[in-house]
Amino acid sequence: MTQAYRLAAGGRIDRSRTLGFSFDGKHYKGYQGDTLASALLANGVHLVGRSFKYHRPRGILSAGAEEPNALAGVGCDDAHYTPNLRATQVELYDGLKAESQNRSPSLVRDYGAVNDLLWRFFPAGFYYKTFMWPRKAWTKFFEPRIREMAGLGRSPQTPDAACYAQRFAHCDVLVIGAGPAGLAAALAAAKTGARVILCDEQAEPGGSLLAEPDAVIDGLPAADWLKAALAQLAAFPKVKVLARTIAFGYFPHNMLGLAESLTDHAGEPDDTSPRGRLWQVRAKEVVIAAGAIERPLVFPDNDRPGIMLAEAARIYAERYGVLPGRKPLVFTAHDSAYRTALALHRAGCAVAGIVDMRPAADGPYAAAARRAGLPIYLASTVSGTGGRLRVARATVVSLAGGAEQRIDCDTILMSGGFTPSVHLFSQSRGKLVFDATLDAFLPGAPAEACRVAGAGAGLQTLKEALESGAAAGAGAVGGAAVTYQVTNAPLARGGFIGVVPGHVDPTSVRAFVDYQNDVTAKDVSLALREGMRSVEHVKRFTTTGMATDQGKLSNMNALGIMSAELGKPVSAIGTTTFRMPYTPVPFGYFAGYARGELFEPERRTAIHGWAAERGAVFEDVGLWKRARYFPQGGEDMRAAVARECRAVRGGVGIFDASTLGKIEVVGPDAAEFLNRMYINAWTKLQPGRLRYGILLREDGFIIDDGVIGRVSETCFHVTTTTGGAPRVLAMMEDYLQTEFPELDVWLTSTTEQYAVIALQGPLARQVIEPLVEGADISAKAMPHMSMVECRIAGVPARLFRVSFTGELGFEINVPADYGRSVWEALMESGLAHGITPYGTETMHVLRAEKGYIIVGQETDGTVTPADVGYSGMIGKAKPDFVGKRALAREAFATQTNRKQLVGLLTADPALVLEEGAHIVADPAQPKPMTMLGHITSSYWSETLGRSIALALLRDGAARTGETLHVPLESGDARVTVVSSVFYDPEGVRLNG
């Protein structure tokens, strides 16, 4: 294909670098520096999409972020596919593969276009009205159908192959937009030595200067001034210029989100280098120089391919060397469109005419158009357009009435004036003020440390833009104001909002206000007729300004219609919220590095490697990886756990308990502090002794437990549950700082200081004893629940005699870097005793056989110490502890049917109940049944040769011996209520 609409010279494209690309499978050529939109236009392609609701053929409307029609899916394959990209922002690269959306089977023949014929049946709000009846049809028919039709673009089904980067940054001034105002702001701020970040969404900084062949700034042609300004900025060491970087969100306290595209412009050639980078910038001051967006005119059938914004057409000609057509008709209410007509005329187009709604056009551009002999129709309007897949004609009529005149054309270039881009300012909660002379909302009082410059502040000339930028940049850092000498850049005035007056029945035509959401002027009027008065209601009823538009194109025209129909000034109507993001940002930017193994930190103990080398199966416990069981040969979990259980009960098992939370509580008031935190009494606990502690919340319910050792008069070694460690430390620190600041006690997390190795079983002492230095660990010298500091395998250790299995047990705390060596020494020492490593599953079974609770399993945030039979642990003489007053509430004393911990034995000893299953008295009772409680733990007990279960049961303590029922999917299970201690109830084995 030749680029038939490409000019032979001019523009900022590189004609020496031809790029091949495809659109809907058809191959085209473009040049380096093109966007997908400019390259398609160069090839004469205007039809690029189908509209959302009516599936009307649509063309490229704009040259920037505001593009509502030209949405394309781009990517070489599904793993690199991004839907809904605006073709005006997609930089062309060799091999680019793009496809249109919302059409089936093709853009030219689209079955969905039947909606267009039925348009009278799809008024605004039709969803709310049409599908009310019959009721069942909504879920069965209408909703699935609508869901199928709704949405634009196709979601890729393959995981995103790209990787993404993230950065935090700080600066004195963040300048958003590198047009003339932004450049002047950055220069003014940089001169004071300030740290400046200048970001711009486009590949090249420059903004309007990239399509500015006429203006002269400080004696330099605009393009040369731009080059010089960028060179100056590059020479400042504290200035960072970020191209292809869109400021999409303005967050509190001047935190801005920027999305920097890194490889999209090259087609993501390498998956190992990031596709994009999310910047989180904390700026002392922000200068928003986001420019203005040209408004479409709302006239009948204003959406045919070939109808575009006038300034966009000029940009295509001047910046990309592309003619949008050969016979353009200009329709305007603003002087700047005359400039477009002149530019196209100079480039060789046969301008079909300039239709101006205004009775007079006097500016220098209009004068020049007159001199050039272009036909001008003043006080006239376009009352309709024709052409199926491309506009071919327009009817022009005088506003005063009279005969319609048919004008043949291949493009219509419209201008309703310019809307300042106040999106980011509005996101920052800055107040907008309506300016009636400009028909625009302008930034008013800011809510953040931010300033707005240039066209975004409603300034209309290049000189004003430059000087307001310089003033903002200088003002942000206390620099000096600058003036600029600008020639050949005259003021262009005008503008119009609302529906263009004409001589047609407004109900018989469609004049589009919001192209992306297919909202017409008629829809907005309908919303008002149906009683909507607030602009927010009209937005929701019609969907105007929703999705990616966020008021970029549609907002002011919708307000113009409302204003006219309600007879109220726009200032009294107000505007809708401008939501972030300014333009869509791929999810990957927000996920950043947090994917796969790095989604969350994977915490591993010092002994993890040993277990992994022996084929342990791990489970996730919080962020930790814990060995669940150690299968031998072809063992499944049940067989491995049974073997491990037998080993512990009959010999000795070794277990990695390193993940237990540990807190060193130190200071003269350590015991007093623990008295106030835990339910237990600590004052009389002697150094060298351990006690099992229970921690409540203020509401009296158990939140954590653990064994606490008194190392010395002033030092306690507190253990917590694995998952509770950070929570408990935070809670303790909170109480210490806010409630008990007078106590001389300090808390330090030692969870990771120690590797903890549990040796459990009747032979445990025999394994440890040969490795111990400096302590007598005989049963007499070191009874159950005692501790000693000694050396084990040559390493300083805190040795606890403690058991979570019911057997003789020890827990060895050694500095973590020695953990694996000590573990290996113990394995060696235990070899002769058949030492068996076991995992968390076996640990769970063994403790359940003994009725030891696990916080979070037997407790659920509503369980008191009495509910699990631990009332006796409460230090009765203590004046207070966290939760004491709650336990004394009358409600606890008078409630008779609290759920209490019990054991359950199934009638069928082989049946292992499901955890979480409910308990009922009579399985034949009508549903809903009365629930008496639920199963908290349930295992096969190898030791007992049968299943066991723990449960929380209403009034459970009084129900011992009762027969109850557990309805399961497999049928009803009969159970007997027993004590929660299934094995060795006297605790003889602990004292071995």
């Binding site: 994977e602 591993r604 200071g667 330090t748 040559g794 500095p815 000590v822």
Partner: protein
Amino acid sequence: MANLVHMVAPARRVPPCADTGDRRYTPVNGGARFLLRLREAAIGPAAEALGIDLAVPLNRASVVNSRGAMRLSPDEWLLLWPETEAASVAPLLAARLTDRRYSLTDISHRQTGLMLNGAAVPDILNSGCALDFDLAAFPVGMVTRTNFFKAEAVLWRQDEFSFYLEVWRSFVPYVWSLLSIVGREYPE
């Protein structure tokens, strides 16, 4: 039964850091660490006992020979000590602060150090740390507790482009992987 009592203390085994080939990062293994907490009145005596200035401003490090004291909060210091001198720390303080109104906790094995050197290191750290590393905001000699992605860390700027990072041992593989991935964005 074999008498194993007199076996030599084994070498410390720190969390593994795969060789990434990135010469800007070096694991710093070994060394002793303590967390010292005390009231204001005890700062002077404790400093004398340890032979190091503790009255440094908040978030500043004090270094004498190869000992370092990082003031992380008004009453909290992270002491980095040579392993060979570690055993004397507790007795020195106990002898001087006889009212025991302080806490000294050995956390030598709780965390591991990583040394980061290179002009891109501030940028690399900014991938997962929200702090401002401009020299005016984070001068040489500053040390603070912060986050690197989801890992808590202590970060000490030893030079314009040299940072010492301490993280809890189980977070080392996570932090190391992220450093190596981010490092690829900033070629050496």
